[in-house]
Symmetry: none
Subunit: 148 residues, 2 copies
């Protein structure tokens, strides 16, 4: 179960050093095989390979002729890449994905249970502000009866 947000920085080669406390969990859940892909909210998704497979299969089963379904397929599967950490626990983020999520030096790694999200600094700040802006609106579908 992945949780917690960490501010990290990409090095000159676009490598992301995974915090040590998450390394073992990632490595054992995935036997080292990780999948990095794009999310429609302009961040990246980092899955252990076994958790990614069923999602990929579901997405692939959608019609290629429906414009919306095809767009989602192209985004999620089209951008997916299998990666693995190097000996120092770093993950190389492909230039195409870096560009997609507009990642610069400052980056956030955010645990989301089954997976991580990777945000640009600007994107993450904006995301946080969006939550404040929600104010006391009604809670979204599925969370109407959430109590903290």
């Amino acid at each position: 179960m992945f949780q917690g947000a960490a501010a990290l920085s990409l090095d000159a080669k676009g490598r992301l050093a995974i915090p040590a406390r998450h390394r073992e969990a990632l490595a054992s859940a995935a036997s080292g095989r990780l999948v990095l892909t794009a999310h429609p909210h302009r961040c990246l998704l980092l899955y252990p390979e076994p958790a990614w497979e069923p999602i990929r299969d579901k997405v692939l089963s959608a019609s290629s002729f429906n414009l919306q379904a095809a767009a989602i397929k192209r985004l999620l599967v089209g951008n997916a890449r299998e990666e693995s950490m190097d000996a120092a626990g770093r993950l190389l983020i492909a230039p195409e994905l870096r560009q997609f999520a507009q990642l610069e030096k400052q980056v956030w790694l955010v645990g989301q249970g089954s997976h991580f999200e990777i945000w640009s600094d600007a994107g993450w700040q904006k995301q946080q502000e969006a939550v404040f802006a929600l104010g006391d609106q009604f809670l979204p579908p599925g969370l109407e009866d959430l109590a903290l």
Copy 2:
């Protein structure tokens, strides 16, 4: 299983260098025989020949008197070409198909499970933006209960 987007460039002769990580998969799945054809969304499709055959047969079995079916037949089967990679892992894209998909120097090769799509740079960017534009609309048929 093909996935991942790669930004590539066509050389002066219209050849596309397939990234090395996909070469073996393509070569073994197809024993070197590849099929290149047109897609209604103005990109190209690249199939290993064995995966193409059943699709071609299904398309061909449709009635030629129905206007839509005939149009799809003409597009998919009419534009299909059998190609193969050269010794350096490059694929020659016929001028007719290059023109169809409006390919210039910058090109994207996008994995879609059983096959690849080939996009012009402009077309792919537009495609990506289409997903952002979807916003938080309802998900398309078949993917309503998709959770990431």
